[in-house]
Amino acid sequence: MTTPAAAPARRRGSALGWAAALTGLTVAIVYPIPIQMSGYTYFQTVGFLVFLYAMLGIGWNFIGGLAGQFDFGPNIFLATGAYTAALLAVHFNWSPWLGFVGAILVSVVICALITFPVTKLRGHYFAIATVAMWMIAQPIGATWELINGSRGLFIPMKPATGLGEALITLQFPGRSKGLVYYYIALGLFIATVVLFRTVERSKLGYYFRAIRDDQEGAEAIGIDSRVYKTAARCLTAAVFATGGVVYCFWAQAVFPDQVLEMNWAILPMICTVLGGLGRLWGPLLGAIILIPIAQVMSATLGAGPLAGRGLDVIVYGIIIMGVAAGRPNGLLSLPWARWFGRTPAPGSGRAAAGAVEDAPARR
């Protein structure tokens, strides 16, 4: 497939890539430990949020990056996931691990049912349809008695008697909670990375990208765009549902306006676009940059005489605009990304890498 000259180069690049990944993993695993010792669990929460948003970003990359469809309302699946797990815990005493299963199942089924009919809508019309679903979900969430409407659902606090039980119910006392949830988020993030990589290199990945590049052309070679667009969104739904379960047990309560908040849709998208749309590591890069900045700014600028004046968000907005104007294809499209030997997409060799990154996207 590749010319002999290119093959050793790719192997060397790959070795560098593995080294970088392993280093990153070690850092990620070790990171919270000194923090835990010093007692500043705040930074663990930041790490937790980084991996949570990075995971959601990868999830969004299925429908947005690979399949190229504008989905502005993936947060409804965060809500379905959170509520399913919460209901299972409240009414049937299910452990959150089983809650994951239930949440994903319910969310994927709902996603398939409501997305398939709207796949006939193209481009911006599809985007508004996803927003429409979100707008319809809001009053439903606020008034539906089954989920207690706007009064919210509370996970009963049952302090665990031992580590084993705690790991099953995920109820941890204050000091260790941050640590455990950090690792849960990290673990789920890694699982999502594996999922993305697997899908990217599978028939699904090829078909998604074909639909993204030219839907009509894809149909002409036998790809049913309705089925595959729905499949992409279902993968997104599964990841968001997972995020919802994590959030639900971390917050110990689910409120409709919180799980349906626009931030859950916008932030993962922005992290992904910042890092590089459709790229595996885009969401993580974006999340590492944006989330701590937001937290740090809100901690420093947000306090003091100018508190509540939104100064931190102003700076946040300026940064976002700056990156959008300076590097619209995302930070990973900078040539230095090649240094880490990251193979951009299956089959595309190093010769193509430069062209992928520098080719201007056509309107």
């Binding site: 508004i128 429409a132 319809i136 509540g308 968000v313 976002i320 959008a324 104007a325 619209p328 996207a361």
Partner: protein
């Protein structure tokens, strides 16, 4: 029956104002296909402008419309030439990115300068007419809202004529269809895009000025209108200014009827539900070109 008609008429009046809110987006997004998450923020700036001019200089909103429109036209042009023009190089998602940043920036600059307190424009010409009604076959038309709706409609028609009947309008349409071909006949795409953004911002800001007569003014007011405007433009169909008007009127009526007969909490849900139903039957919107 009268009650239903009353609801419909009220809805039409609001719809006329929605049309003005949405038409700016119809130009930027529907015609030039550029996403703008900060659309509602331009409107919010118009509302704050009206409040500020009223409270410091005593200018009535109906007069303040003119300077505000001019200033906001300039802002729209600046936003395009400094920010959006560079973003056009990338994916459409980059436009989302950029305009979300713009949204955060504009909204919080206003928060920083004025706090999030709710404010009201008081003692306006229209407010003084409040309580004056026209009775038409048992339907009550409040004069302030009626006048506001008519002004909105008039501006809308002016804009429609501009786009559809003048050479500038045709140049805009040409640029949106095929940028390169437009260049070949001497049209300057960059100027067209800048003008589109200027017009879009000015129009929605003027809508804000008018709405300031009736709604409270606060920095976060924009988002709900942004979402509504998107639904209206998509419902009306891309590329169709007239479609935006019809869709806006429809949305106003659906909202109004929902509030009267069903649950007020669901008024937006019904609007978007209607969008889905119509969208499934007619994927390109009511009058869409694409």
């Amino acid at each position: 029956m009268t009650e239903l008609l009353q609801a419909v008429v009220n809805g039409l009046q609001m719809g006329a104002l929605y049309a003005l809110v949405a038409v700016g987006l119809a130009i930027i997004w529907g015609l030039m296909e550029m996403v703008n998450f900060a659309h509602g923020e331009f409107m919010m700036l118009g509302m704050f402008g009206a409040w500020w001019l009223s409270s410091t200089l005593g200018l009535d909103p109906l007069i303040a419309m003119v300077p505000i429109a001019l200033v906001m036209y300039g802002l729209g042009v600046v936003v395009y030439t400094q920010l959006m023009r560079r973003v056009q190089r990338g994916d459409v998602f980059a436009q989302i990115f950029a305009t979300v940043g713009l949204l955060l920036f504009l909204q919080n600059t206003v928060v920083a300068g004025f706090t999030s307190d709710y404010r009201f424009v008081s003692d306006t010409v229209l407010a003084r007419l409040s309580g004056v009604n026209i009775d038409l076959f048992g339907i009550r038309l409040g004069l302030p809202l009626l006048i506001a709706g008519l002004i909105g409609l008039a501006l809308f028609i002016l804009l429609y004529l501009l786009i559809d009947r003048t050479e500038i309008g045709l140049s805009l349409q040409a640029t949106s269809e095929d940028r390169e071909a437009a260049m070949l006949v001497g049209i300057h795409p960059r100027r067209m895009f800048a003008m589109a953004w200027g017009l879009g911002a000015a129009l929605v800001a003027v809508a804000g000025v008018i709405l300031a007569n009736f709604f409270s003014v606060y920095p976060q007011v924009g988002l709900q209108f942004t979402v509504l405007a998107y639904a209206i433009v998509a419902l009306g169909g891309f590329g169709s200014i007239l479609g935006t008007l019809i869709a806006a009127l429809l949305v106003g009526v659906v909202q109004s009827v929902t509030v009267v007969y069903l649950a007020p909490a669901f008024k937006d849900a019904f609007v978007f539900g209607s969008y889905l139903l119509i969208g499934l039957a007619r994927p390109q919107g009511l009058f869409g070109r694409f």
